[in-house]
């Protein structure tokens, strides 16, 4: 997506938004937003009054201008929403063009025959098996059944480097619309056509299926309630005025109503929500529900897997620790030989470290015919066998037991003397033993903490979020890494079900939990967590369970997601506060204007010294419309969030949006009044 991303608001976007603003005048669309619906009704009423004035030959300048600005108020709000949607729409269009009308080669009678038939991708059903060859587009979401291939997923992720997709394991999920670059894959379709990841992505980006988040719903109820109250205030003004012998016209009442109801936030609320989702998409995160974005702002605890998130995926050999009485070179040689058949990164790092210490195959040539013994979960060892001996390396108990079974004396105490410091410093000890000499020593495998992770955790802490590291390592190792990385807490020796239990326990305490994951065994925990960020490289099961997908597959992105969630809530709160605070000044502009003719003493309330009642009224309405326009950039960009203590953030925002909201309209309305009278519009 990165290459198709719409970076700036181009003029085409603006043109499209303007057209949309008019289309959204449709009463049925308008009715979704109670505040703007009321403004729309007010606009229609004043227009009728204006036409009546015109027909009657009465002075229609005032009702005409009020009506015009009320329409502008609605249009500005529509424009804000359309502009927020616009960027997503443009992106969705780009994605749609990537969703080619792919054809699929469906196996007719697997496994009895390899013959395939050519069908359109839309005809595929879950369970179908298809073959995709190099250069072909994967026709639907699915799981690789056979084969391995390099897949170009840039259509979705924007990342041009191809990724490997292979059957079995955590890299088996493929996405419809991506392209196979080499080899061929047999894929089992897992999604109905039209419900594929790409389709959902288009829907999400476009905002077509945008649901209101819980907080947005509550805020909408508040705004609707306030609108009702102000409707009551304005409606009762008519009889109140009659009591005082002042007849208040419908134009004036409509103008007053629009000034009082919270149009600023009412007009921008939808745009704020859409823009928040859009900010996530800009960072290559797809939120499956708005609820998740909001929950992100609320998260109390962050669960992070150690491996791949806090540390680099692989442990590296850092040191060789020989047993007492064993020469170091002896140990290094044995370790090197034992790792020859070991293609894991750990194995390769042992070879590399041995080389750096001056021991390589030139110095220590391999004796004759060797058989590599791979690591298995049962033996928990790997190594080599050759005619003249055996060498094993592996977890301490496994190797100790192997050595003891060969009749070597028990030297557990010496081994522990070597392994304990390793564990304490966050490393993993790997024991090396040979058939003839027994235990030779320990390889110190070190977890490498990612660069800059500490600073990120400090930022998280400043937001008031607790971080918990999850690891299968023992307590000592976990503790050391936790200290080095700067996480608040850790869960050691964790099994997948422990992670789930931890989430449930935290939630029982009333905390909101975020986690990231990619494997199938993460799926239950992802489904239970309040924010479950799934890596795009993850399995299909994980991607179904989580409520956010990171296309860049970067687990630490949770931090940015939290910030975006917070920013969304702050922007809503700030604009609501601003909107309500505005009312103070508007009352002082409009109330005296309403009754100045019938009750001349009302002039004392005209503290802004507005030139005349009509100009006062019009100035308030114009200010009300323009402020929506002026705040669109803030609504789309969001109020800046800086981590800090709650009371400090609160004081700053109250000062800017609360106090500012009271003061700004006094100045604004006065200025508009001066301009209006200056150019003689009133």
């Amino acid at each position: 997506m990165r290459h198709t991303r719409v970076h700036t608001y181009s003029s085409a976007l603006y043109r499209r938004a303007i057209a949309e603003a008019f289309r959204k005048l449709n009463p049925r669309l308008l009715a979704k937003n109670p505040v703007m619906f009321v403004v729309g009704v007010g606009s229609a009423l004043t227009t009728v009054a204006f036409i009546r004035d015109l027909a009657a030959g009465a002075p229609a300048g005032f009702s005409g201008q009020i009506s015009l600005w009320l329409w502008f108020t609605v249009l500005f709000a529509n424009f804000a929403e359309a502009l927020a949607e616009g960027r997503g729409k443009a992106q969705a269009d780009a994605l749609r063009s990537a969703r080619s009308e792919a054809v699929a080669f469906r196996f007719l009678d697997w496994p009895h025959s390899e013959t395939t038939e050519r069908v359109p991708a839309a005809a595929l059903r879950p369970g179908d098996l298809v073959r995709v060859e190099a250069g072909g587009v994967i026709p639907a979401d699915g799981t690789v059944e056979r084969g391995a291939a390099a897949v170009d997923e840039s259509a979705i992720t924007g990342e041009s480097a191809p990724v490997i997709r292979e059957s079995g394991g955590d890299r088996s999920a493929v996405t419809g619309g991506t392209t196979v670059l080499s080899d061929q894959l047999m894929i089992r379709v897992t999604q109905e056509p039209g419900k594929s990841f790409l389709d959902r992505m288009i829907g999400l980006i476009e905002g077509a299926k945008r649901q209101k988040t819980p907080n947005e719903t509550a805020l909408n109820i508040l705004l609707a309630g306030l609108t009702l109250i102000f409707l009551l205030v304005v409606m009762t003004l008519k009889p109140f005025g009659l009591y005082h012998g002042a007849s208040v016209s419908i134009v004036v009442l409509a103008a007053l109503l629009v000034c009082l109801i919270p149009t600023t936030i009412g007009g921008l609320l939808a745009a704020i929500g859409i823009a928040g989702m859009d900010r996530l998409i800009q960072r290559n995160v797809l939120a499956m529900s708005g609820r998740a974005v909001e929950a992100a702002g609320d998260v109390d605890v962050l669960l992070l897997d150690k491996t791949g998130t806090i540390t680099l995926g692989n442990r590296m050999a850092a040191e060789f620790l020989p047993m007492p009485g064993v020469r170091k070179e002896e140990l290094i040689k044995a370790a090197l030989w034992a790792s020859l058949g070991d293609e894991t990164p750990e194995g390769r790092s042992i070879v590399a470290l041995a080389g750096r210490l001056g021991v390589d195959l030139a110095i220590a040539p391999v004796p004759g015919d060797v058989t590599a013994i791979p690591f298995t979960a049962e033996t928990r060892m790997s190594g080599i066998d050759w005619a003249g001996g055996q060498i094993r390396k592996g977890a301490d108990e496994a190797v100790l037991a192997w050595s003891a079974s060969l009749g070597h004396p028990d030297c557990g105490r010496d081994v522990r003397a070597l392994t304990e410091p390793v564990g304490k410093s966050g490393g993993t000890p790997l024991i090396v033993a040979s058939r003839d000499e027994g235990i030779l020593g320990v390889i110190y495998l070190k977890d490498v903490v990612k660069e800059g992770i500490r600073a990120r955790f400090e930022r998280i802490r400043a937001m008031g979020i607790r971080t918990i590291m999850i690891t299968g390592d023992n307590r000592l190792t976990a503790q050391a890494i936790a200290r080095e990385a700067g996480v608040d807490d850790y869960l050691a020796e964790a099994k997948p079900e422990d992670k789930l239990q931890l989430i449930l326990d935290l939630q029982k305490e009333g905390r909101l939990v975020a986690m990231s994951g990619d494997g199938t065994n993460d799926a239950p925990a992802l489904a239970k967590s309040d924010v479950g960020l799934v890596m795009n490289t993850g399995t299909q099961a994980a991607r179904e369970a989580g409520n956010m997908i990171d296309l860049d597959s970067d687990p630490t992105k949770l931090i940015e997601i939290v910030e975006i969630g917070k920013q969304l809530l702050i922007t809503r709160g700030a604009l609501t506060t601003f909107s309500l605070a505005n009312d103070v000044a508007k009352y002082f502009a409009v109330i005296p204007a309403l009754f100045m003719l019938a009750i001349p003493e009302m002039a004392a309330l005209n503290i802004m010294g507005l030139s005349n009642p009509q100009s006062a009224m019009l100035s308030a309405v114009i200010f009300n419309a323009l402020i929506i326009m002026a705040l669109i950039p803030l609504a789309l960009k969001g109020v800046r969030y800086r981590p800090g203590s709650t009371s400090k953030i609160l004081r700053r925002n109250v000062l800017v949006y609360g106090v500012g909201g009271v003061v700004a309209p006094f100045a604004g309305i006065k200025a508009i009044d001066m301009i209006l009278t200056g150019i003689g519009l009133i």
Partner: protein, 568 residues
Amino acid sequence: MIMRDILECILFMGILAAASPFLGRFIHTVMEGDKTPLHRVLGPVEQFAYRISGIHPDREQSWRRYALSALVFSAAGFILTMAVLMFQGVLPLNPQGFSGTSWHLAFNAAASFATNTNWQSYAGETALSHFSQMVGLTYQNFVSAAVGIAACMAICRAIARNQTQVVGNFWADLVRVILYILLPLSILFAIFFISQGVVQTFLAGVDAATLEGGRQYIALGPAASQTAIKLLGTNGGGFFNANAAHPFENPTALSNFFQCLAMLLIPSSLVFTFGEIVKNRRHAWTIWCIMAAVFIFGVLAAALAEQGGTVMLAEAAGGSVPNLEGKEARFGVFGTALFATAATATSCGAVNAMHASFTPLGGLVLLFNMLLGEIIFGGAGSGLYGMILFMVLTVFIAGLMVGRTPDYLGKRIQAREVTWCMVALLIPAMLILGLSAVAAATEWGRAGLLNAGTHGFSEILYACASCAQNNGSAFAGLKADTPVWNVSLGAAMLMGRFGVMCSMMAAAGSMAARSIRPKSEYSFPVEGATFGALTLAVIFVVGALTYLPALSLGPVVECFQMTAGRVF
């Protein structure tokens, strides 16, 4: 304003601030069902009450059942009172031989007592028998206040509890409030008032020969006991029509001072009870300070307005003189301003002066207190839950600005809570503005007015606000004993009381079911000056600005008119 007045104000608030936390904690102990020294005497009475009425105090109710119990209980009291008033002619303890009241007056009065409003469209001593006074006033004074306090306790518990459906047992709460709180306090205050000269007798009254040789009927009755509970329960219905201006009901400056204290005592203490329930004393003090700040501002504004007098008075006297029209000389300007502010800030509504004779600004303060929703200390119980409504809204609006889903005391505020809070806000607004609008625009509404123009409008607005917010004080000037006024104001009282109460219980019930979010330094702070200022701002912008147009057409513009020399 003279030094003495300021000192009196400080002394008053000082005593209130010192006494409230103790009483608040005592109320908490009682409502938790824990033992107090009073249990040695009253414990058996409580157990007896449970036994004969089949109450199981440990069987807690959901908010729905709790609210339903309160409604059924109040409805029964309403019917009883209405019947007693209509048939008082044939009922005992009627030495003056009054006949039954009209059905609409009975409806109005029954609604008024059952809702803790005590709006009186009649003159007590010349229309009601002792029996009616005792059932209508004394009994309802106790139980209507107790219903308010009980509902408030249920709401507080709902906020404090974690993921539960039950909020307490209404019947047990009712018994405990009456037995351990209202009765002992009433007895204490009644004895003090008798010492000051408030009458307490079952005699009908005496005929006296006046100095001019005329004859005057001087009404008497069990006034002291009733005065105590009318103030403590924020009821406000006076034994005498002149209410606390009557020398037999409020004889001295000292009795006046303590009557003011009695009005504020329970609402102020409940704030600290809330603090105990939610285990946050600093929050309780913050609420108390918000209330005290508005209260002191009101007292000073009213006192200054009355002290300053009017332009006309100044012209007549040749210098600035205080406005003493309609005030009792034994209380003076400050004693009157204090009493009037206390009676309108709480939902008491007792009066020791003619509120209609206040200067427009002084009257504005009183009207404003009521329009805020009786939350500045407010009614017994109802004041606190009204305040909770505004605090929930404050947390919801401002809480977003710190970047978390807003929560009040750990309870997330979501659609259901906001909905019910908005309903609770809409009901009084609808009643006050709607009824005022109808009255201002129709003949029957204007027919009862004593004054024309803006002052007449203030009279309408005051009556509607007083009833819908269950204050019960009268601006005087409006003759409200007509079928239409009686029925419409009676209905406003019922809807204003039980509509708001049930809405707040619904909001609290929804909060009870939510899990408590643990408090941390990143929680939205509900303690301290920032929260106080924010709550005040929300009260003024959301609560008060609603009534600004109406107020500007009443007392505000009247003030400007008076300065310009126009009177009504």
